[in-house]
Symmetry: C2
Subunit: 252 residues, 2 copies
DNA sequence: CGGGTGCCTTGACCCAGATCAATCCGCCCG
DNA sequence: CGGGCGGATTGATCTGGGTCAAGGCACCCG
């Protein structure tokens, strides 16, 4: 309700937030590094707020005042060229920690794909918290290292993979991210796995360095080849995971 | 002289190394985070060794036993697809810290472009060191965050920039990396700046997601347009930095 | 000093994916 | 129920950069 900053990207701010101990997103976020008994220290510096779908809540180049932690929903992270060309560098979903910038300004923008709930920390206060809990800093380093590995993988995709390989990689990665646990119920059939795509074809294109048309055509062709099913535009069903996986890894 | 591991990628190993206090690379590396009086702790776990030009000293997929710190020379870091397609994810020069992998295996390979000297730390021992010196861990987090920002910039390049924009970005970035200091002597003329290119055209191509031929043609065209000079294949001279910079940022 | 080897450059041609241009489809709203 | 709207799909065509193919050039080594 009450916008916090001049450039209102915030829809609704609640303070105090639901306490961190009760946070459902905690298990899959950096906050999990803290001992439950220390969570009230975290709650003390966190502010939770909602973001409506389509809203930009991080502006590339703006003063980087906060760190963020996604507790619900999905966002796209992107960089822009002056003429409007866009590269989506990743999608942030529940548990994602955002804002690990070096500079004083954000090096990327973020826009909600779905209604979101986000936890926000003042950078300065976060610094204190890191001093207090080295285990949290270690966790952040782990997360950063993992993202770096993912970023390098994406460079390989963008620099050297064909359109078919890019789409296959994307679908396989999406499917895998649904269920990091080996025997999640969604994974049981392994094939027939339903993969939600909360982003538009345009977003997928901007993530994979392609055009909307190529994304659409390639998906249509995957369907014709029996590798996927497309019950509706925002969901695909994997029909031949092996085939997709070997395409994704460039095995032809 | 004495190869250390089975798969000998190491040319020469010296133990004890030149002590860290005397290391010329320290000022531009993470080791600088430590107080000089603590450097002997670092020396105690470090091993320095030389790598000859062309030698692969990190094998993608191999067990990640070490962290590395480059103290002299330059390496290319790359990922491969099964059919040999290659993406160079970065170049590591003096001060670069390598091996921030999450997994137990390296997610990229590294090959020396020039004769190198490298400092090596057992991962397990490094862990102890990080526990002992949180300031070192903080420094690593900073470095990782900076690399993440650079990786996102590279994704924008690979996904959305034209060949000309890619080469312009590359040359401008190389020129800037020569001299992080604002008034380094090399920078004085700002134009006429000599930029060494220790990598081959093939390496540049694999870094920018292009082919050798496109790299060569584009550089030739830059020369014809008066933006650069090419005294020899492994060096260019920037003649019109403004023009290159606006090309690099996509301003047409 | 000559021949070889590994880049690098240049030219001719080709093609994967971009661009341009209609539809189409699902969904919302009056 | 109809019409408008924002994606998504599909078709036709174009093109930037890839591929294939000759040389060229620098450097090394015998």
């Amino acid at each position: 309700m009450t916008p916090i900053r001049a450039r209102s990207t915030v829809v609704e701010a609640i303070r105090p937030p639901e306490p961190c101990v009760a946070c459902e997103a905690r298990v899959c976020s950096v906050c999990n590094a803290l001992h439950p008994s220390d969570l009230d220290r975290l709650s003390a510096v966190a502010t939770s707020f909602g973001v409506e779908s389509g809203r930009t809540f991080i502006e590339e180049g703006a003063l980087a005042e906060f760190f963020f932690n996604v507790t619900a929903g999905t966002a796209k992270l992107f960089k822009l060229l002056p003429d409007g060309r866009r590269q989506i560098t990743g999608f942030a979903s529940v548990g994602t920690f955002l804002g690990l910038a070096v500079s004083t300004t954000y090096s990327f923008g973020a826009e909600a794909l779905e209604p979101m709930r986000i936890c926000r920390f003042q950078r300065a206060r976060m610094r204190d918290l890191l001093d207090e809990f080295p285990v949290l800093e270690r966790k952040l380093l782990e997360v950063a290292a993992a993202e770096l590995v993912a970023a390098q993988e994406q460079m390989l995709l963008l620099g050297r993979k064909t359109a078919r390989e890019r789409l296959a990689s994307f679908l396989v990665a999406r499917a895998a991210s649904l269920c990091p646990l080996p025997d999640c119920n969604n994974r049981r059939p392994r094939n027939q796995q339903r993969v939600p795509l909360p982003m538009t074809r345009g977003d997928i294109a901007d993530y994979l360095g392609l055009t909307i048309e190529t994304v659409s055509r390639t998906l249509t062709r995957f369907r014709a080849e029996g590798m996927i099913d497309i019950p509706n535009a925002s969901e695909i069903v994997i029909q031949a995971r092996e085939a997709l996986e070997s395409l994704a890894t460039g095995l032809r």
